[in-house]
Structure formats: structure tokens, C-alpha cells
């Protein structure tokens, strides 16, 4: 895409593979039927009519095979929308070859977690050389990083007898011949330039606004940007204390000494560096959503966790990430641009076991009407131990000063248990809980009540808990209960 000399060099697309549909064998049947009747009853006009059937049998033999020399560009009007905002996506397929493709069927690769609200990402069109076809549709953004898939393009020849199916990634083309270079000259160059200019978007970033981070319990002994509540060297006044031998002379309060004759030492708040491990609960049990079209707790929680990690990094903290789930991954605390990208990618990766949430059309209701951890933990006690072991591993492999922020929907006891384990080891803990419960039914309400009880239990332990409904900014309550966000 960036190369000046062509856009067709990407061999990553699946190679087009012509296959015959055999649909015109119907014409053979018609020819035989009509011809046989004509012969049997001695009707020359019917035997003659069989010629029509024969002609149609021969028809697909004379049409040229479709050569899908196509490129795809995709643009959006807002690549980083807020939750619930509608985004208009425009995908344009251009025929860069020298042949007309008479039947192109385009299905754009809409990100799997986004719902199309208006228009359709599908279109069928005949594309003469150099022409473009555009599909335009709107999607409603939900928290998370949404990657567009390749567009599925099916080309048929004029008679519909040969089908070529390809997958087109944005900014690439499905050229399988040198047809594009045959167009040659200035024309081809112009087209390349045009495509290179067009914005090509592969992801929609719907990030979560974060209002503050939980206050620190413990910090690294390294200088950073977080003021802590101990005495030391810094700029903000902390307290004065009695002079002890060895205190530096410039920290002695000389005015006071002049006034009272007592030696006192001034202490300042040192700025220390925080170290945080953000743990995302990506277990299959947490792939739950409030209803159709809503983001599930792992996707939304991942987006919130990524936003939180970014906020921590922006404030100079060292941030590590753990993904608790079927595919356990731990990134040790660190910083820097590369680290930030790695952290964001890990947190916003789609849930591994998405079948749990999407295997039935009322998976959402099943999710919220599930009777909490009772049946779930009974069914998967083995894996529950496995996830608890993952929490222990996170705690063992990160330094004792690292705080643990657990992002979990709190639909079962796992989240509470994880926070408790971290707190028992003397870690600073906080929890962020995406709210995916609904009050659609009695069972769903029960799940919501259980979740709020778990939040209360955590708060009574002094753990700051962010009760976050996707679409709102992330806020933290005071550890001592404090203001409930929505009064429920």
C-alpha cells in the first residue's frame, strides 16, 4: 500500500480458486427432455427446440472466466468513536484489471462484535475495468478494539458457471494475473496513487474514558510521579520531626531553631513510582453480556482495562498485564511505547472461547439468568482451580510492591477470591467490575443482586471498586463505601 509502484504485491490473500457451479447442466436436462418427446412423438419442431437447450449447454463454454483483479479500500468517519456512537463505514472495491467482472458479490468483513445498524455491508455489482463499487453501512460502537476482517468477494462469470471466491483485505488486491500491469501507463499509475491516498482503516478503537485511578497503597522505591504518604525528599511538605543525627543540614528548620532552640527536620513527600498489574478476567464464564448487541464482559472489560493501563502509564507508573483465562498470559510491569502496545493488544484481544456466548441466540439471557457461581463452579471446578492457580502465579511472578487491579464482572466468586488472595499477600488491590447484568428477568435480577453483594463485600474489605457500566467513564468509589454511582 505504501509502495509507489503498485498495490498488488501483497501475497497474503487467499489465492483465487475458480470452481464450476455446473448450473447449466439444467440445460442438458431440458434439451434431452424436449428432444426425447420430439423424437418419440415424431414432432420435428420439438426436436428443433432441443437446440435451445444445447445452445444453453454450450453457453458457459464461451463466457470468459472472471479475473478478480480487485482492490479494497475501507474508510470510516470516526476511527475512535465513543461507546454507542454510530460509525459510518465505507468500503470500496475497485476493478483494477482490464476485464469486466460481470458479477461481483461483496460482503465486507464487519468486526464480529459490532452490530450493523443501518445499510448493509453486502452488495452485488457488475464492475467494468476501472470502476468502483461502494458499500456503506453504519455500526454502533461498543467498548473495545474492533478489527475489520477481510471482505469476502465472490465473482461469477457472465453465465454464472464459474465462481471465484477471494478474501480481500483493505489496501490489497486479489490480483492473480498480470492483468493489472496490462492496463499499464499513466492510467494504472493514477489509480495506484488514488488508492494510496485513500485512508484505509483496519480497526475501530472505542476506548473507555477513565476518571482517575485508585489511590496507591504501596509504591516502588524508585522515583516517579506519584506522591506517597511517607516522609523523604521531595517538593511537597509532609511533616516536621525531631532532628536525628545524620539528617542533612539543608533539611533542618533553622528558623525554628532560632526561635526555640530545638533542632527539627522537615520532611517532604517523596514522589515515588507505582507499579500496577492489571488482571483481566477472561475466563469463558465471564464472556457474558447484558443483551443482544451489548458487548460481553471480557470485551468491554478488556477495553476498560486497556484504558486503565494507558492511564497508569500516562501517569508514569510501571504497568504489567495478566490475562486470566484459557490462554494465560502475563506481561511483567514495564513502560515504554512498545510495552504500551503489547499491553493494549493483550487486553483487547477477543475472548478465546467465544462459543460460550454465541452458541445460542439467547446466550445473553442465559448468561444473566445463570444462577451465579453455584452451577458454574460445580460444572467446572477443575478449571476454577486452574484459574486460581493463575492468580497465584501472577502474584508470585510480580514484585511485592506491585498493586493488583482486577478487572472482572464479578458474576461468580472468582473475582472476590482473586482480590482476597492478593490482599492476603499484602498487595495493594483494587477491582473494576464491568456491569453486564440486566433486570430483564427474575434470574437476571438475582445475578445483579449477587454481583452488588460481592462489590459491597469487597468495599467492606477496604478495596476500591469501580462499578462500571459500559458506556460510562470509569470511576472509583472511596474504599469506605462512599457514593454509589447510580444509587442502586
Amino acid at each position: 500500500m505504501t509502495d509507489g509502484d503498485g498495490v498488488c504485491e501483497d501475497p497474503g490473500d487467499t489465492p483465487p480458486n475458480p470452481e464450476r457451479t455446473g448450473r447449466w447442466l439444467t440445460a442438458v436436462a431440458i434439451a434431452l427432455a424436449v428432444g426425447s418427446v420430439g423424437v418419440y412423438f415424431g414432432r420435428p419442431s420439438l426436436l428443433l427446440a432441443a437446440v435451445v437447450g444445447l445452445a444453453y449447454t454450450a453457453y458457459p463454454l464461451v463466457t470468459t472466466d472472471p479475473v478478480p483483479t480487485l482492490t479494497l479500500t475501507r474508510g470510516v468517519d470516526d476511527a475512535s468513536p465513543a461507546h454507542g456512537e454510530t460509525v459510518t463505514v465505507t468500503a470500496t472495491v475497485t476493478n483494477t484489471g482490464s476485464q469486466t467482472v460481470p458479477d461481483v458479490r461483496i460482503v465486507d468483513g464487519v468486526p464480529p462484535k459490532l452490530a450493523v445498524t443501518e445499510g448493509t455491508p453486502r452488495r452485488a455489482v457488475a464492475l467494468p475495468p476501472g470502476e468502483s463499487a461502494t458499500v456503506s453501512y453504519t455500526v454502533e460502537a461498543s467498548p473495545g478494539t474492533h478489527r475489520f476482517g477481510p471482505a469476502t468477494v465472490t465473482c461469477y462469470d457472465r453465465s454464472g458457471a464459474v465462481r471465484v471466491e477471494t478474501e480481500l483485505r483493505a489496501g490489497t488486491c486479489s490480483d492473480r494475473s498480470d492483468g493489472a500491469s496490462e492496463t499499464g501507463g499513466t492510467d494504472g499509475a493514477d489509480r495506484t496513487d488514488k488508492l494510496a491516498d485513500a485512508p484505509t482503516v483496519s480497526t475501530l478503537e472505542c476506548s473507555v474514558p477513565v476518571e482517575g485511578v485508585p489511590s496507591p497503597r504501596e509504591t516502588l522505591r524508585a522515583t516517579g510521579r506519584t506522591p506517597v504518604d511517607t516522609g523523604g525528599s521531595g517538593v511537597a511538605f509532609h511533616r516536621t520531626r525531631e532532628y536525628r543525627p545524620g539528617d542533612p543540614a539543608d533539611r533542618i528548620d533553622w528558623r525554628r531553631y532560632a526561635r526555640t532552640g530545638a533542632l527539627t527536620t522537615v520532611e517532604f513527600r517523596p514522589d515515588r513510582r507505582r507499579s500496577v498489574v492489571v488482571c483481566l478476567d477472561a475466563r469463558p464464564q465471564s464472556v457474558r453480556r447484558a443483551g443482544d448487541g451489548e458487548a460481553d464482559a471480557v470485551t468491554a472489560g478488556g477495553a476498560a482495562a486497556a484504558a486503565l493501563a494507558t492511564t497508569f502509564l500516562d501517569r508514569g507508573a510501571r504497568v504489567g498485564v495478566a490475562r486470566l483465562g484459557p490462554r494465560f498470559e502475563l506481561v511483567a510491569p514495564g513502560d515504554g511505547r512498545h510495552h504500551r502496545e503489547r499491553v493494549t493488544a493483550l487486553l483487547t484481544a477477543p475472548p478465546e472461547d467465544s462459543t460460550v456466548a454465541f452458541d445460542g441466540e439467547n446466550a445473553g439471557t442465559r448468561a444473566t439468568t445463570a444462577t451465579g457461581g453455584v452451577s458454574g463452579s460445580a460444572a467446572s471446578s477443575g478449571s476454577a482451580n486452574e484459574f486460581a492457580a493463575q492468580v497465584d502465579e501472577v502474584l508470585e511472578r510480580t514484585s511485592g510492591a506491585a498493586e493488583v487491579v482486577t478487572v472482572t464482572p464479578l458474576l461468580d466468586e472468582f473475582g472476590v477470591d482473586a482480590v482476597r488472595r492478593a490482599a492476603e499477600r499484602g498487595r495493594g488491590v483494587a477491582a473494576l467490575s464491568p456491569d453486564v447484568t440486566s433486570d430483564g428477568s427474575l434470574g437476571a435480577e438475582l445475578t445483579g443482586v449477587e454481583r452488588r453483594n460481592r462489590i459491597e463485600a469487597l468495599r467492606s474489605m477496604g478495596v476500591p471498586v469501580g462499578d462500571w457500566r459500559p458506556g460510562d467513564p470509569v470511576r472509583w468509589s472511596r474504599a469506605n463505601g462512599g457514593a454509589r454511582r447510580d444509587g442502586r
Binding site: R20, T26, S45, L46, L54, P60, R122, V125, T154
Partner: protein
């Protein structure tokens, strides 16, 4: 597929309309007298109303759509009923019954009454229409060219219907498909014109004293050859030998 997660994948509307019109046109060509023409016209009204009902139902106007579907089906049944009591010999009546049932079944297939049945019902409708042409060809008193054109109409109707079913499955009913359907129709119509010209030419210049057995043998040989070509046809040259 996904996207608009469950698009209505029924047959595309433009192709469906073309199919029904082509089928009705073919049946009009087969009609022998004004009365037969009137029966086909009633049938056409019914089939059109059926398609309209399907469209209205798709647009969310369920009540009006249901009303149109019921009216259309009733009208088609009336047309078939009229065909059964058509005042003529029974062979003519069979031809007319097939010729009215064919477009009716086609319209029912393209509404569609049930999406998974669309393909099979299109096949059934095609069989009925070919049957109508064959029976009509058995009867004396039809122009050769009319018979040829009618058969072309039947093939075009099947082609358009099958294409519409495929389009609907691939891109759904809400997508724009007029251009593709028109291109496809132009292709199959021109093939039909070539077929009619070839047949008429063949009849005009062909030797008239060839024994029937030779003609049949030739016919069978041509069918076998074309079928073999169509089955084993490998996409040629420009598509396979360009591996870098």
C-alpha cells in the same frame, strides 16, 4: 454470514421479477386463442401479486403483505382451475394447466414461502414449464419460432430465478442487485437469441432427407459432447498458468 447478522436471504427481487415475467411471456407465446391468453393473464396477475406480497412482507408491512400473498395464491389457483375446465381437448388442457401452474409455483418459490425450499421449487416450476412447452409442441398448430422463443423464455426464467436465489443467499435481499441481474439477463438473453437464430438457420439449410435414426444419434452425440465439456471444463489459460 454476519454483518447485518441475519439478513433476509430470500431470492433477490429484481431477478425474481424477471424470472416470473419471462415464464409468463413464454406461456403467453404458447396460448392458442384469446381464452387461453386470458387464463394466462389471470395467472400472471396472481403471480405478480404473490411477488408483491413477498416484497411488502420484506418491507415489514406484514398485514398488507399477507393479504397480497393470500390474494395472489387464490388468483393463481383460480387460473389453474380455469385451465382444468378449459373448453378444448385434454392435451391442450394439460398444456394449459402446466403453463399456469409453472409460473405460480415459480412465484411461490421466489416469495419465498420457505427459504430452504426456494431452490427445489424453482426446479419444480422449471419442470412444469418445460412440460408445458413439450406438450404444446406435441399439439399441432404452433409456429416453430414461437416454440423456440417460448423455450428460451423458460430457460431465461429458470436462469433468472436460480441466479436470484444465489444472489439472495450471497448478499441478502436488502442489497442492491439490479445491475448484476441486468448484466446476467443480458447474457442469457443474447445466448437465447443465438440459440433461436441457430435453430431456425439449421432448419432452413439442413438436409430434409436424413433418416430419423441419424438425427437422433447426432442429437445424442452433441448432448453428450457438450455435457462432457461442461462437466470437465477446466478454466483455461489465463487463469492457471500465471504462477510467478
Amino acid at each position: 454470514m454476519d454483518g447485518d447478522r441475519s439478513p433476509d436471504t430470500g431470492p433477490a427481487f429484481p431477478g425474481s421479477a424477471v424470472a416470473v415475467v419471462a415464464a409468463l411471456g413464454a406461456m403467453v407465446l404458447l396460448a392458442t386463442d384469446p381464452l387461453g391468453f386470458a387464463v394466462v393473464a389471470v395467472d400472471g396477475a396472481g403471480a405478480g401479486t404473490l411477488l408483491l406480497g413477498g416484497y411488502l412482507r420484506f418491507r415489514g408491512r406484514r398485514l398488507v403483505g399477507l393479504l397480497a400473498l393470500t390474494t395472489g395464491l387464490a388468483t393463481v389457483l383460480v387460473a389453474v382451475g380455469l385451465a382444468t375446465v378449459y373448453p378444448a381437448g385434454w392435451v391442450t388442457r394439460v398444456s394449459l394447466v402446466l403453463g399456469t401452474a409453472g409460473p405460480g409455483v415459480l412465484a411461490v418459490a421466489l416469495v419465498p414461502v420457505r427459504r430452504s425450499w426456494a431452490g427445489r421449487l424453482v426446479g419444480l416450476a422449471t419442470a412444469l414449464l418445460v412440460g408445458a412447452v413439450a406438450v404444446r409442441g406435441y399439439l399441432p398448430g404452433i409456429d416453430r419460432v414461437s416454440l423456440l422463443v417460448a423455450l428460451v423464455g423458460v430457460v431465461v426464467a429458470w436462469d433468472a430465478a436460480d441466479h436470484a436465489v444465489g444472489l439472495g443467499a450471497d448478499v441478502g435481499r436488502s442489497a442492491v442487485t439490479v445491475g448484476v441481474s441486468a448484466t446476467h439477463l443480458a447474457g442469457s438473453l443474447s445466448a437465447g437469441v443465438v440459440a433461436v437464430v441457430a435453430a431456425v438457420g439449421l432448419y432452413a439449410i439442413g438436409p430434409s432427407s436424413v433418416p430419423l435414426v441419424s438425427v437422433v444419434a447426432l442429437f445424442a452425440a452433441v448432448v453428450a459432447l457438450l455435457a462432457a465439456l461442461a462437466v470437465d471444463h477446466v478454466p483455461a489459460g489465463d487463469s492457471v498458468d500465471l504462477e510467478p
